[in-house]
């Protein structure tokens, strides 16, 4: 191994330096795990369906038909192909509502995680890299956030701000930043001592550039793993908030609200409480399968966190 700073720097840029290692190799590594592959495929199917369903399913999720209330799914007696998964108490098409609800869950889940990661990345990098008073301040704030019951935090903020999709994403995203900030801070602390960072510093690289070009690329894989698993938790919690009436406001169909509405008719119309729940379960299952696979492939150290 070369000894002077400049060539260590060059060497590390070539050998260990930043590269987005989420390349064909990674994908192959993930796909080698059969359960992760299935999770990925399932999630792709869910994504594509939620994106493209207006092309082949034209029923309005809000259209009421009081003459066709509580129509059971098509495979049951009394069901018809015009409402494949039946209708609800106002005669609205359940399939259309589930399809539409998938957009809400996916958009809220992924946007909230992106927002949380954004805040967490910045604070985690700053905290870990600069250390000192700033680090203590950020980490003490994180401690306080973590002790504040997450559910109560989101509920009380939603109660203050009012319920809209934007507020939902904001609240769920912001209250989640601590997990990312702590993970990243931990990684940065150990990366900071690595030779290639030291070499970059010796070569006169500016701090900002060290953080963005040398440190950040190396924390992408734990972020990806953690983020994927968090999407699952956020979607479950979004549906919980919707269930309590604090999600996306009506009449927009969301899975949680469908469950809350269907609960009144539990003895007459089992499909109203069963099907939206199955939709949530399939989505979360696919994300968890994929997340587990990503974790095993990219970062076995994370095995105990996330869920």
């Amino acid at each position: 191994m070369p000894s002077d700073a400049a060539s260590i720097y060059r060497y590390s840029r070539e050998r260990l330096g930043p590269s987005l290692r989420l390349t064909a190799d990674t994908i192959r590594e993930v796909a080698r795990r059969r359960s992760a592959l299935w999770g990925g495929i399932m999630l792709c199917v869910i994504f594509l369906t939620s994106l493209l369903f207006p092309l082949f399913y034209h029923v309005d999720p809000l259209a009421q038909d009081l003459l066709a209330r509580f129509v059971p799914p098509a495979w049951l007696e009394g069901g018809s192909m015009s409402h494949p998964l039946g209708t609800d108490n106002l005669g609205r098409d359940v399939l259309a509502r589930i399809l539409y609800g998938s957009r809400i869950s996916l958009v809220v889940g992924f946007s909230a995680v992106l927002l949380g990661e954004l805040v967490g990345i910045v604070l985690g990098l700053v905290s870990g890299y600069y250390g000192g008073k700033l680090d203590s301040l950020i980490m003490r704030t994180a401690d306080i956030f973590m002790a504040y019951p997450f559910m109560l935090l989101t509920i009380s903020v939603i109660a203050v701000l009012g319920n809209s999709m934007f507020n939902l994403i904001l609240v769920l995203g912001i209250s989640d930043w601590t997990i990312y900030a702590r993970t990243i801070r931990g990684s940065v602390l150990s990366l900071k001592e690595k030779e290639f960072v030291e070499a970059a510093r010796a070569a006169g690289t500016k701090n900002l550039s060290i953080i963005t070009r040398h440190i950040f690329p190396n924390v992408i894989s734990p972020l990806l793993v953690l983020g994927t698993l968090r999407v699952a938790s956020i979607i479950i919690w979004e549906s919980g908030l919707s269930f309590l009436g604090m999600g996306v406001p009506p009449p927009t169909p969301s899975w949680g609200r469908m469950l809350a509405d269907g609960r009144m008719y539990i003895s007459d119309a089992w499909w109203l409480v069963t099907l939206p729940g199955l939709a949530i379960m399939c989505t979360i299952l696919s994300i968890n399968l994929l997340g587990d696979g990503l974790r095993d492939a990219l970062d076995p150290r994370l095995r105990n966190v996330g869920n």
Binding site: Y148, L152, S156, A232, L244, L259, V273, I284, N304, N307
Partner: protein, 308 residues
Amino acid sequence: MLRYLLKRLWHTVYVVIGISAISFFFIHLSGDPVMLMLPADASMQEVEQLRQKLGFNDPLYVQYGRFVSKAVRGDFGESLYYHVPAMELIVERLPASLELSFTAMLLALLVAVPIGIISAIHRGSALDMGSMLAALFGLSMPHFWLGIMFIMIFSVKLGWLPTSGRGTPAQLIMPSVALALGLMAMFARLTRSVMLEVLSLDYIRTARAKGLREFFVIGKHALKNALIPLVTVAGMQFGLLIGGTVIIETVFAWPGVGRLVVQAIFNRDYPLVQCIVLILALIFVAVNLVVDILYIYLDPRISFLEDK
């Protein structure tokens, strides 16, 4: 050891101060409770009088100071909706929530830890695969949906269990199992992965080489170290659980603080929400403090390293 304890105590103090400040300021941004307390046709003068009387006209930091000085003396204000001290309502409801959380936690640990251990020992067996698949499903189901499914199957269809309420053991079954299944899945996975890690360590090989019976190797040597992460996660989850019963209490009409807080939020009952959040956060912090103290026994390295 003393240093470690002092450090943890200091941690607890600033977290409590931070939490009380956050909950105070959040709740006070949410609109004017005076409008909700008076009839719709109240005159501006009446509104102003009540605001003055309740101190809503003072600057926020003055109101916060008053809140803290009263709180330290055990006075958490009066519920605007029920017109009784907020603390009284919580003390009345807390046992129900604790009962539910505690049962769920106990159930989850009792089932999950043995499953995790057995899965780790027989890695790759049908039992391992089966229980890990089940755990994956358990993690993927929202617990409130599970609760609704239970009601549909066991109450509506089969008529075995009561749909809601609290009082008899039969009423505790469905909410606690619904709450426990997710935790069970999490603990089983955690126990398994920690056990796998521990079982691959040298001291376990040494213990086996000494000829110790497998039962002792697993039960005494391996489990002791595997317990450390398990206790952390279980402690944290228990703290979260007490606040996390919000939805399941709504599903089963369980008379705990979770339902109380949802109603309080809808009623804009500031002092009550504030008090509930504070109490739940305090419980969370207290549970974590207990866990930190437990560490000293579980992991002697901690007091050793801290004192150095």
